[in-house]
Amino acid sequence: MKYTQIERAVQERMRPGHITALGLLGDDQRPVADIMQADSEAFSRLGMDFDQVADLLEHLRSAGQDGLGEPITVDNRYLVSTGDARGVLPCPWNDGVHHKNAITVQDQRSGRTIIYSDLSIHLLRVHHFCQGKGSPFRLDPDTLAAIL
């Protein structure tokens, strides 16, 4: 598959050291379009909707922010901690910047953990991109299904 200029630029910006130190692709060697295709299929298989999941992640984030940087129990089930850093991260599709933060959600019921940021929520909602396998901020559809 031949990339367009835009796809190539997006893929380039997702590599380590461009937007984030670790990059958004992890050790995933597949083209971005293939990653998105596979995750979209997983989303429909699991009966999840990108917007709904993004809403939930935003809910957990706002509830977690009440902890003011310290971990806090949300909905009697999740242990959420939010950490903020200086600065902003641009979206690799160049449609805006997002505050730099990390939200860690530990689900006490399933024992699974996800880490995400404002940028991750935007990538999920607008671009339907869950990040590559091996990226610490990957929102894996199966893990999401188990947690949410």
Partner: protein, 197 residues
């Protein structure tokens, strides 16, 4: 046996009646991929016109004063490619220094053009049809503008297609190919008005 066609007629002919893209299908790879986006199409079209004019003129000089006298026309392909690559490099440096604004709008497209077949295609037409220098410049500029026009038209059409329901199997490249086919047929309507030889 030099072609005797009037340069001005050649200029308009290469825009409309023998559009390098829609009648010769040269430079289609970037044509299809870049035309997704109107702004990029505009930039790329401008860059193609610019580079095509300059490389064709320089290639004509190289052809007339180096290749033909030394009788190495069998190597002209390679020589043209080297010339195109070098000229693009040089242009990039000069534009960066002289006009940052122009550099920004041409920016990423300049290196991309090195591998655009419309450039080499036009240069080879120039060689085969034995144009003189004036004809070469008019033909190259016309071909560039023709390419520019075609990609802008396609970008505009694709923006409209985006908003309309397209059968799933035809989305993306499929409907684009069909669109280009229609456009080419429309341009065929012009052909025969002037014979470019």
């Amino acid at each position: 046996m030099s072609s005797a066609i009037n340069p001005v007629i050649l200029f308009f002919a290469s825009i409309f009646t023998s559009n390098i893209l829609l009648s010769n299908f040269l430079g289609t790879c970037s044509f299809i991929s870049i035309s997704k986006d109107w702004k990029s199409s505009f930039g790329l079209g401008m860059a193609v016109t610019f580079v095509l004019t300059i490389t064709a003129a320089i290639s004509w000089l190289v052809l007339t004063y180096v290749v033909i006298p030394l009788d190495i026309e069998y190597l002209s392909f390679i020589i043209f490619i080297i010339v195109v690559a070098a000229v693009v490099q040089i242009l990039e440096m000069i534009i960066d220094r002289a006009s940052p604004a122009l550099y920004m709008s041409l920016g990423i497209f300049l290196p991309l053009i090195t591998v655009n077949c419309a450039i080499l295609g036009a240069i080879l037409f120039m060689q085969i049809r034995q144009y003189n220098f004036i004809q070469t410049v008019f033909f190259a500029t016309g071909s560039g503008i023709g390419w520019w026009l075609a990609i802008l038209l396609l970008a505009a059409i694709r923006e409209r297609i985006e908003k309309n329901p397209v059968p799933a199997g035809l989305k993306g490249a499929g409907i684009t190919m069909i669109t280009i086919g229609f456009m080419a047929m429309a341009f065929i309507g012009f052909s025969g008005m002037i014979a470019v030889q």
